[in-house]
Symmetry: C3
Subunit: 161 residues, 3 copies
Amino acid sequence: MTSSATTSSTPTPVDAETRVAIDQLLAEYNLLLDHGRADELWTLVAEDFVSHGPMGVMEGREALKAWGARRVTQDAGEVRHFTGGTSLRWEDGVLHGVTYYMTFRSTLPEPTHPASVGEFHQTFIQVDGAWKVRSRDVVAVFGGANAAAHAQRVSGAEGQK
Amino acid sequence: MTSSATTSSTPTPVDAETRVAIDQLLAEYNLLLDHGRADELWTLVAEDFVSHGPMGVMEGREALKAWGARRVTQDAGEVRHFTGGTSLRWEDGVLHGVTYYMTFRSTLPEPTHPASVGEFHQTFIQVDGAWKVRSRDVVAVFGGANAAAHAQRVSGAEGQK
Amino acid sequence: MTSSATTSSTPTPVDAETRVAIDQLLAEYNLLLDHGRADELWTLVAEDFVSHGPMGVMEGREALKAWGARRVTQDAGEVRHFTGGTSLRWEDGVLHGVTYYMTFRSTLPEPTHPASVGEFHQTFIQVDGAWKVRSRDVVAVFGGANAAAHAQRVSGAEGQK
């Protein structure tokens, strides 16, 4: 691993246990978020969790905890986050991952059509043997306008469930 | 695992061999169904298999076998089941899973647009060392009307291939 | 494994390490292709790589290397390949896989709607301990016209970035 070109052709392999744990972590995150359990999301991230995206910047697990507690009191419609294509790589001892996502929302005229398509760029860290999300950048590749509208609905609409 | 809150934050981990077997099982199920081999689906489920969904209730592997034998004689158009985001959890010794799905159908005006988006809620059981589907609830979150129309097409159209 | 019917009901299991390596390989292929790094794709395939699809026939890793070098000089718009549902099977000592895909393209009127939906039919081979793509057939099940239009854009448009 002497150059980035070499890294790409012969990456340090991610072992099966790790990949499977990350797959489960990502799926669980979506499941909680999509099923009215956003107040449990904080259990899946590290204490110094940081995220960037259409929702703005969130710093610290406590911030996600506060956001989740508020989120479950809101009615932003039915949402599903469909993910796939996770590629993982070790870089300077840190586990990085890119995961593709699609979101579906009942607030759209055609809820069966993806509202947005993009990528989660994440790092992961093991805490007491369990993998947690350390950082998450949400990159809306297509449908960014839909994502922004949803973010505004969620951030500006406290307790309207 | 003393309460449901604890279960969510520190679930019993699913080992790599198991998760990989379940991923393969789900992919194989879709592959057979989507490629005119529904008459082999019964090989992937337990003897006491039960399913609920837009197709109605199906009880027992023999029921799936009969359904599959009829299904391969029908022309319901080209269909693809796209799945992802599988989260697994052990609960009272039983392996549960939620998998997101999208269906695509040639019978729709725009076959590249998902016909329905939803979830498979499943349990799994190991039979002679191989994981099988023990139960499957199909929850159509979006596009339920399309799913129902397809179900009617398939159930009401014997031998019209 | 004495007949194809038997193969389907009791396939030789693919171990966790192998499946995880293939999942990573597929994800990495899409990541490079979707992020302007098509000139690195050749590092993921075998020397005698062969592919068939809307892009035509490609024979040999060198052909992919030449294609990738040209591809990164072209502006074919933003593209994302979303994959899932990989089923793997051993057949006469060769590892085969079917993976479902959706493509999204900025050149479509609605980039959040899949441009095409189909399957990668692939074989894999281990070279010096690392899994590589040995062959790839791209089967566009839905949206073949979009896929063909894109193929023409890419093949006919050298150096127009």
